[in-house]
């Protein structure tokens, strides 16, 4: 027995808590039932896990709803391509990103999003192979859009097949493909890309470009719908399996999502790489210049899992268990999670300008502060997981 099992730890913690509670004359029955007592609320691990499943379901449902709205806006634009409707489609993309980004904390534990046949690579892959989709500066005839000979019909099935060449895929689908088709390449320091709406009216291959945009949007909607189905309250889906896991196993998955997103994905891959290389456009949402959202809302996703709340939904989050176990550590972790969201919000917009300059430039200081906050957050998550009786990774190679 290398690891103390979580139920044992909880039981011990509960015993301590319930003694205290018992002294003050409140509900000491809960302790005997194996419940942690926080703020006079009795909460079991199973309740936290179950509420997590609700939260995941609510977040994917929201991401799906916003994607449907985006699909409507894209179709409206394609039916009548004007500058105004193009802007509406862009706005709907930006809005649709926010709930999706908050689902990224549900990655990294081989759940439906990124198990063996998970759609993560079809939804959010990066960097984009723009020249594989459409024309780019310096190559007016590049991409599937401009190659009617090889690809006579553009539909979701074609795009999915192009992206599924094992390890050798061209990345030509997902949110960032829609972004590229709505904004175009970004060559300006101040603003995003400015693809003209005439790309969908009078330009070469305008109809085929429209087909691509429609198909790639449909594919995103379809994949999100699949994720919603895996998490809705039924027994015969991933949620059903997840709730059947021993609670410590489920908690390990929940915390793996949090620790990997903090340490590996955010601190290292997204922030440190951009900070270190200072490569303008080495950023995720480079066409729309909305990379700041990618940083903030991923961290908000961690905050959601911690507090157990998403929009109108609230309930017992991970913090309830953590506080029952190790109040001091839970306090540190809770403030760090608040700090990291605040730190990401403090990075000046646009992100691609914030990485430039000397190390004492305000943007770079803000980014380094966010990286360091997230590194500390990842360590605290590892420590908390240890208290719960399991290990969680903070880098890909540990996973």
């Amino acid at each position: 027995m290398k690891r103390t099992s979580l139920p044992l730890v909880i039981a011990l913690a509960v015993a301590l808590v319930s003694c205290k509670q018992g002294e003050s004359g409140s509900n000491d029955q809960a302790g005997a039932n194996g419940k942690a007592l926080v703020n006079d609320q009795a909460v079991t691990e199973a309740e936290v896990v179950e509420h997590y499943a609700k939260l995941v379901s609510a977040t994917y449902t929201d991401a799906f709803a916003y994607a449907k709205t985006m699909q409507g806006a894209v179709n409206a634009f394609l039916a009548e391509p004007t500058a105004e409707l193009m802007q509406k489609a862009r706005d709907s993309w930006t809005a649709a990103r926010l709930p999706y980004l908050q689902t990224e904390v549900f990655r990294f534990y081989e759940g439906p999003i990124d198990d063996e046949d998970g759609p993560e690579g079809l939804l959010n892959a990066w960097p984009m192979d723009e020249a594989y989709i459409d024309y780019v500066e310096g190559n007016a005839g590049s991409g599937v859009v401009n190659n009617a000979a090889e690809f006579p019909n553009i539909d979701a099935a074609l795009i999915e097949s192009l992206n599924e060449k094992d390890g050798e895929a061209n990345i030509s689908c997902g949110y960032h493909a829609i972004e590229f088709l709505l904004w175009g390449q970004d060559f300006s320091a101040e603003g995003p890309g400015d693809r003209p709406f005439t790309d969908y009216t009078t330009a070469d291959n305008a109809d085929r470009r429209g087909d691509y945009l429609r198909a790639v949007t449909n594919l995103v909607v379809e994949k999100l719908e699949g994720l919603v189905a895996e998490w809705v309250p039924e027994k015969d889906n991933y949620r059903g399996e997840f709730l059947k896991l021993p609670t410590s196993k489920a908690l390990e998955k929940i915390m793996t999502g949090m620790s990997m997103l903090s340490g590996f994905e955010m601190a290292a891959e997204r922030l440190n790489v951009a900070y270190d290389t200072q490569a303008q456009e080495d950023e995720h949402s480079c066409f729309s210049d909305t990379t700041h959202n990618d940083m903030i809302y991923d961290l908000v996703g961690i905050h959601n899992v911690w507090t157990g709340s998403y929009k109108d939904l609230s309930g017992p989050g991970l913090q309830v268990l953590a506080q029952g176990l190790k109040p001091e550590l839970a306090g540190q972790l809770g403030s760090k999670i608040e700090d990291s969201v605040a730190a990401a919000k403090a990075i000046p917009v646009p992100f691609d300008q914030a990485i430039l300059g000397e190390d004492d430039a305000p943007g770079r200081k803000a980014i380094l502060h966010t990286i360091e906050t997230l590194e500390e957050q990842a360590k605290l998550l590892v420590a908390m997981a240890g208290e719960m009786g399991f290990g969680v990774p903070i880098s890909e190679e540990e996973g």
Binding site: P127, D129, G138, N147, V273
Partner: protein, 459 residues
Amino acid sequence: MRYARRSTFHALIWLSTASIAWSDDRLSGGDTTVFVTNDKAFARPLANISRLTRRQHTVGNSFFNQNWVASPSSTTSRDGLGHLFNARSCSACHVRDGRAEPPQKGEISLGLVMRISLPGRLETGGPVPDPAYGLQLSERALPGLKPEGHVQVRYEEVGGTYTDGEPFSLRRPIYDIVDLGAGPLSPDTKFSPRVAPAVHGLGLLAAVDDETLRAQADPNDLDGDGISGKVNMVWDYEGKKLVTGRFGWKANQPSLRQQTAGAFVGDLGITSPLFPNENHTTSYAELHKFVSMPDDEQPELTAKILQRVTAYLQTLAPPARRDVSDPAVRQGQRLFAAMKCASCHTPELKTGDFHQLAELRNQTIRPYTDLLLHDMGAGLADGREDFEASGQEWRTPPLWGIGLQERVNGHTTLLHDGRARNLTEAILWHGGEAENSRERFLNSTREERSALLSFLESL
């Protein structure tokens, strides 16, 4: 609880007595060693890595793993792929920092590249490129362009028997080059198929002093043990001089930096400050009407990112050995020495004092290589010279981590072209200077062979 405490107590006793002698044996990379046995066993950073080096490692990791895209794209630091290439990322071939395998029938190779050259040597001492295809056949190209050609492998089985009568069969590869993009190759063309090796522990190999290499070398076999050991002398493109080679199947690269830049241009078609020219010939580009990058353009890989990817490769740790006290493993270890395998697969080396990364200095490492060239006989020969390496000579490959290859990469193929289907076949392909060792293996009992394999599996 009581159970746990008792086993800790036993472990302490055990550590304090018998284990002292072998406990060091587990530390393949000294203080850098990581204790990992899953499919990420080659992917961990050095155990003793500093926080700042670690940040460089993660940046390098990102550029090693992510696909590169065609230029021009918005992600300017990640574009420049091709026009001609063998893979879109380093990790496409070095999967999980491990080893590739040769293509199956009908597959386009990913992980085995075909080096080509014409007879003779350049002024630098290196091989002479083909006027149309250069030094390596690119099997992939950007959309709309024709790749240089494809390599197909078929095998013929070659039987043999151990002295005790047990039969075995080896597969000898036969290569067909098809779909050539610029007409037939010269009949004088020399070929060298090479599989992407695992990349863990390379920083430690780089940190072994040249003097240590030379001290082991015996190019004229003055000690008469039948084993020469030769240092390759190869061209340093930055220093513009000949220096000690130590990386690659023929030790034709002097440093991880040059190895990395060479792989970027050769395998991905990505130029760098070291290699500012694309990997295709002018004649191939003219024939297929594509324009290579103008000379005044910045290299596609910046100096900084080249440094980060180099740092990544410098800081991948070798995994610790397993089962070192198992009786069969220990017997196998004795046989490894008795059969003179250890004459080239040197069990222990020391790194020097001067590597720029403090983590790599003064480590006792167990790579099981001397980093020298040896004549491996006609059976393995590619017949293609590479600097001082003859067509029969190969560099002793390190063996650390070899027992984890299947877990990391899901296959057990070995040797420069992946012809050996397992460790046994790899041993049986040894010839030339290793002929005597091979014969000892053929003459050994089944139990001894099994013990030797147990030892190799523990590496």
